[in-house]
Symmetry: C2
Subunit: 308 residues, 2 copies
């Protein structure tokens, strides 16, 4: 270390490098997922290859990054949070595989690659989704419990966020809403469940892994809910404004499927304002962390400003 | 109570009434499942109706009965074992819904009623299966832990038995084996995973709910494995020998799908002998319970002697 007058002057705070953060998170989460899952050659190889195909198909690992950032905001570590981050990503990936099936959204491409059932067939795709869903709970059970939060709490948290009253409820309502002119309240119901539920669970998981206080957990819940809803509104907006090439998936699908979206009900500008308003509420929810939620703030800003 | 000489003479041991046992078990499990699951009118009603349709479609509740009987053998109670019995039944039902899908076994009838996707459509059937799988873990998390066995143990047990190395592995191998002449070792691999894995988990769950000793748990594991394999061989035999009407599902499906079965590889008589041999091993595994496993023995006898 150098000494003298210069070193006494506090360094200007370096701007938070979100790209580096997310990149490092992706790398570490990928490595951990690779260890948690049976290898691609484990019998029956087909199912493990199919699970890994979608799990390592270039997802942005936004949910794991939220888990990590929330853990940090509560004074925790990536290492402690890692199993929970991996579990959430398994749930997210399973839901994408099943959503893409012909009987649901019937998508041929996801992140610029053929969807699971296009590569492995529908039967194996259903089972790969089932296996990732089951794997998520196996991973949570392998995590260690943290003071206030037992395995019971963790399993309940994940099961409720991804169950028939939340994640699956959103998908069912979405499926049933196709071709109908839904009111905004119903569209909000869908978005809350399809997206907010698991984002909420992600940040709460991060907090739990850091043995957070009840006040911190409330802050994270409010943050997750609002970012999740904003995220989904942005998704609706991008479906209207961007090309398939930019998105890496079929654009204009919502319009083609006559799905109600925020832009179709509120218009584009009002939708953007609503997303901004929700993000503002999300930022306010971070006050409880008194400046220690840098990564969470940066992630929220990124989720609102992304163009793909 | 009457008194006198007559009452001092011990009553002749009344023969175990398996029908009454299973009937009472069905009733109590149905009631508990009804409480664990969201009501049929809970939004989104479609998914909860679809979940309940298959869960209450007249299943024999063999797995819950095994949970209860194993709990009793270890000195436990039905009440303590109930959440675990319900969780196992949710897993079993989800696996049937997904197995029946057109992309898998393509079955139109199950237990004499149209399969889930015939009533609710494929999309909802996939999601109803997902929801029951998720519900199983929510129910396990709601159970209380028992001395030697924590929630971590219980969740790991269920996740492994139903994951990509066991239950799902069996289904994948089954799917891939269609139209191929599989060797007996591969057919055994499939049966062990499609059936033994969850039966093993059922009796182990029963033992765990009674805070069983490690020796008792080993006995239950050996019992569950052998009964499970015998059960599946009987299923193969019935598919050949019984009518659709008797079975309540399409008979001769295995032959039609050119699936390898024990009868097709070993012949009918040798298959029956093999099932009997496995049941014998199962009975031997119950010695550790010193006569307190009456219900487990009766269930094993029923599973071998059933004609539907």
């Amino acid at each position: 270390m150098s000494s003298g007058i210069k070193s006494r002057r506090p360094a200007a705070p370096s701007p938070f490098d979100l790209n580096a953060y997310v990149h490092r998170c992706c790398k570490e989460v990928d490595r951990a997922l690779g260890r948690f899952l049976p290898s691609a050659s484990t019998k029956p190889a087909t199912i493990h290859q199919a699970m890994r195909y979608s799990l390592f198909a270039g997802g942005k690992r936004m949910r794991p990054a939220l888990v990590m950032a929330a853990a940090e905001a509560c004074g925790g570590s990536w290492q402690e949070a890692m199993p929970l981050a991996c579990a959430v990503e398994c749930i997210h990936t399973y839901s994408l595989i099943h959503d893409d099936l012909p009987a649901m959204d019937n998508d041929d491409f996801r992140r610029g690659k053929p969807t699971n059932h296009k590569v492995y067939g529908e039967g194996v795709a259903v089972l790969a989704g089932d296996a990732l869903l089951t794997q998520a709970f196996e991973i949570v059970a392998q995590a260690r419990g943290w003071g206030r939060y037992s395995h019971q709490d963790l399993v309940l948290e994940l099961a409720r966020a991804s169950g028939s009253l939340q994640l699956i409820a959103g998908q069912v309502a979405d499926l049933e809403g196709e071709g109908k002119r839904l009111p905004l309240s119903e569209l909000r119901y869908i978005h809350e469940r399809k997206t907010s539920a698991l984002l909420c669970c992600s940040v709460r998981f991060g907090g739990m892994s850091a043995n957070c206080t009840p006040a911190q957990l409330r802050g994270l819940t409010e943050f997750g809910y609002n970012v999740g809803l904003a995220f989904q509104i942005i998704d609706d907006i991008l479906d209207v404004t961007q090309s398939s090439e930019t998105l890496g998936k079929t654009a204009g699908k919502d319009t083609a499927a006559q799905k109600a979206t925020y832009p179709s009900l509120l218009g584009l500008d009002a939708s953007k304002l609503e997303a901004a308003r929700l993000t503002d509420r999300a930022f306010k929810a971070l006050k409880v962390f008194r400046g220690r939620a840098t990564a969470l703030e940066a992630l929220a800003r990124y989720l609102l400003q992304r163009d793909r």
